[in-house]
Amino acid sequence: MPETLIFYALSGLAIGASALVIGQRNPMYSVLMLIASFGALAGLYIQLDAPFAAVAQIIIYAGAIMVLFLFVVMLLNAPTEDGAEWDRSHPLRQPAVARFGGMLALLLVVQLAWALLRAGGLSGPVAGQGDVAVVSSVRELGRVLFTDYVFAFEATSILILVAMVGAVVLARREGDRP
């Protein structure tokens, strides 16, 4: 069952790399680990017959967004997070609060797993209905994107324009006159 093995390898890589993203204090390594996690997720998308999403994941996420993050980490010469930086004067800033946050995350995963186990009809193989040729077709995807979802597509373009202008305005130095 190579398919099952590939699934477990990729999901293990994704989960392990994501755990390392939040598991250590150097933001540089966090960004690199997140790129590895995105690569593994792209492999999972290919397994789910979504090649367009996989390629977009690599190009947009690992290629563009993560390079933006890397650029900022290097630009700010981001300091390694210091464990002694905790301000211990305020009760709300004790590490116990952080442990509470970890507990909440653990509770979330238990709750989600419980909900998944309770819900029926999810245990069947994932390639349930539909034609693989239709689902994985980029041509069909483009047709649907530019007909049924054309309004959302245009709204997204405006969103990106606004984000671009906003980023330029926010990152401008105080004294600069445009």
């Binding site: 939040i22 966090s30 970890g102 689902v135």
Partner: protein, 100 residues
């Protein structure tokens, strides 16, 4: 064949890791990275369900989520740069001027 629930469990674990990162880390850049992990967990759910129902809508929503994530990263990182210029720190506890 891999059951749908396996994909959903992977997605749930990734989402929980992202949540834990937002709670636990004390670095604005790592917090933004955790948000990206959560967005990706949701993307995996969309694609798995879309495959299950033989529908393209999941992949289209993932496309929109990616563009929104790009916009969010651009604006968020611009805010981080601005904050760093003011306080020379990336610790979110430093930016507590609005707290009583």
């Amino acid at each position: 064949m891999i059951p749908l629930s396996h994909y959903l469990i992977v997605s749930a674990v990734l989402f929980a890791i992202g949540t834990a990162g937002v709670f636990l880390r004390r670095n604005l850049i790592t917090i933004l990275l955790s948000i990206e992990i959560m967005l990706n967990a949701v993307n995996l759910t969309f694609i798995a369900f879309g495959r299950q129902h033989g529908s393209l809508d999941g992949q289209i929503i993932v496309f929109f989520v990616m563009t929104v994530a790009a916009a969010e990263a651009a604006v968020g990182l611009a805010i981080v740069i601005g904050l760093y210029r003011h306080r020379e720190s990336l610790n979110p506890d430093t930016f507590a001027s609005l707290k009583w």
